[in-house]
């Protein structure tokens, strides 16, 4: 029972990490109609900048702040320099251009920091475990990730539903032309949204730095799952991104943990040994296929065209 609870926490942790990535990606797609494959690169940039600043200043908090600001700045520059010209093009051109950005960023990072993974670790005060209740000790750092993710989700909900910026974002998502016709500076809005999305990806990246390898190409490992999340959740919808991320996080984690023992009660243990891991790694894609079959627009589609 304790184990199930622990695995649910693990699922939640993976879920919020995916959500941080998915929120930016889905916003950019929903509002700017831009398929941004380079979102994983911003995740990588966030991880590198935060690790670098953390090592240079010796303070994890300062590393996080500077890393976030840096990723936001990189995001804005990328939007202004490269992506602005792509909004009117079709999705294939965007995929091609943003794929080029992936190669560009991976090489740039490899030139600056080398191809080998760089060292980063959890700061002293975030190591160790918290006893949530009798028998369940959970790593403090993972708990911090969960809380940060949930706080960001709440913050995003507030910004999108309760502020003027959020209103413009929602309006932009449902009808871009009309928003522009009403005199809103849509270009500026795009830059702001993209910068925010980049910062969120950077946040995911810098949080993951201490537990995953910080190295060129690290973004692509998580990007595929993030696309699964936004397809399941509904493209362009933040609510969908949250739901999709939590579902994918849970299904993936619980599948990896419990599918094999469950299967071995039905089929022979040796067959379960082979089938369990194979099926566990397929689960989220099966789920995506099911969602696409029964609700092609995703679980929580964004309103609008």
């Amino acid at each position: 029972m304790i184990l199930v609870l622990e695995q649910i926490l693990n699922g939640l942790q993976l879920g919020v990490m995916l959500f941080l990535m998915a929120a930016g990606l889905t916003l950019v797609f929903g509002i700017m109609n831009l398929v941004n494959l380079a979102h994983g690169s911003l995740y990588m940039v966030g991880a590198y900048l935060a690790t670098w600043f953390y090592q240079a200043t010796g303070s994890f908090a300062l590393g996080v702040l500077l890393g976030l600001a840096g990723t936001l700045a990189v995001g804005v520059v990328v939007e202004v320099v490269a992506l602005r010209t792509l909004y009117q093009r079709d999705h294939l051109d965007q995929v091609l251009a943003t794929f080029g950005l992936i190669l560009f960023f991976n090489e740039l990072i490899a030139i600056l920091w080398g191809r080998a993974a760089i060292f980063s670790t959890v700061p002293e005060y975030l190591t160790g475990h918290v006893e949530l209740f009798a028998g369940l000790r959970y790593p403090l750092y993972r708990l911090v990730i969960i809380l940060t993710g949930l706080a960001v989700a709440a913050g995003l909900w507030f910004v999108v539903t309760r502020t003027r910026l959020g209103m413009l974002i929602r309006a932009g998502a449902s009808n871009r032309t009309m928003v522009a016709a009403l005199g809103v500076n849509i270009r500026l809005l795009y830059t702001v949204v993209f910068g925010f999305g980049a910062a969120l990806a950077g946040l995911a990246g810098l949080l993951s730095g201490p537990i995953y390898a910080v190295q060129p190409g690290m973004g692509e490992l998580i990007l595929i799952q993030v696309f699964v999340v936004i397809v399941i959740g509904g493209i362009g919808s933040i609510r969908g991104a949250l739901a999709g991320a939590l579902i994918v996080g849970m299904v993936d984690t619980l599948g990896r943990a419990f599918l094999k023992p469950m299967l071995s009660t039905v089929i022979s243990p040796s067959a379960a040994d082979t089938a369990g891991p194979a099926m566990a790694s397929m689960l989220i894609y099966l789920l995506m296929a099911a969602v696409l079959t029964f609700r092609p627009e995703g679980l929580f589609p964004s309103r609008g065209s």
């Binding site: 184990l3 622990e6 695995q7 693990n10 699922g11 942790q13 993976l14 991976n106 490899a110 191809r115 080998a116 993974a117 760089i118 060292f119 670790t121 959890v122 190591t127 160790g128 475990h129 790593p139 750092y141 993972r142 201490p210 537990i211 995953y212 390898a213 910080v214 190295q215 060129p216 190409g217 690290m218 692509e220 490992l221 998580i222 984690t253 619980l254 990896r256 943990a257 094999k260 040994d273 891991p277 194979a278 566990a280 790694s281």
Partner: protein
Amino acid sequence: MRTKFQALSVAVALAFGLTAAGPAAAQQKVKIGFITTLSGPAATNGEPMRNSVELALDHLGRKVGGLDTEIIYGDDQFKPDVGKQVADEMLKKHQVHFVAGIIWSNVMMAVAPTVTQAGTFMIGTNAGPSPLAGKGCHELFFTTSWQNDQTPEAMGKYMQDQGLTDVYVMAPNYQAGKDMLTGFKRYFKGRIVDEVYTRLGQLDYQAELSQLRAKNPKVVFVFYPAPMGIQFLKQYSEAGLRGIYPLYSVYTVDEITIPAVKHAALGQLETRYWGPDLKNPANQKYVADYQKKYGKLPVFYGAQSYDGIMLIDSAVKAVKGNLADKKGMIAAMRKANYNSLRGKYTYNNNHFPIQNFYLLKAVAGPTPGSDPVMEIQKAVFTNHKDSYGKDCPMKW
């Protein structure tokens, strides 16, 4: 008079010698296609391989077997289909004489048959999947690394000798992962609590680590090659498991993962056929020159690749540059007649090395603050043969 005659005869001999060698040298050029992973996170393993091939060429004066050499690098992107495509291109477009390299067993399973069926040499410099060592062995397939099972066999034997039991084993779910655990179990006879296979290239191991803690084993044995090893080691330490469940591993803690995990590697035991501190002239030169050229310690992926080029060099020399003489080159390679970085070794009938395996430990670096280094402790096996040779129909 006498000296004049001597000088004349030398000149004549030289002239004849040159004209005899001339046409052959002009038309003969050896082409080697080297396939490894050069993009994505796994490029960390491909880079030292390419670096070592370059170093080997430097040491040979850019002439393999005395012939002009063209080396063509291919990137398999850690994908079997891409690897096969790259190999096809090397065979058809570049018409290479040798294909070498390959880190991953699943890529090797796709590439090796393509190459050998085309009548071209395949020199593996890392992956040693069991199917290619048994029934699927081929006279044109050689490896300068090991058969996958061998290294975990050494760790299995060491852990058996230590009287350890209640082991929890983990590996990625692919050919090499299966081979590693098969090899481990061939020599380890204690109780195995559970065997867990994870997705190849998996990022997060927290779910598996929670399961591990729930099963409460005595020790843990894993195979997680870089870059997976970095994620695994970081998360294993961060979850506080290192102090509770001692970790034994193969191909997980090496000169690629150590700079990324630093002190988290200290005390880690591994088995391996080679280490940078192995004392023989060829290896000392390799390690020193590698550090001079690239500014870091080499890793076994590189050492094997260096050996791969040297093995090709020895074969081409043995047939005096006649690349059409494949029988002659096979016979030469079977002798492993070159200064391997691991010291002298021989070939089993399936063209996999019969070699020593050592116990290595990650110890504190030479200067305070420097990264831990892998240090050879003792030999676990001497002249260790893989277990698939008997299924291989080749006899020589």
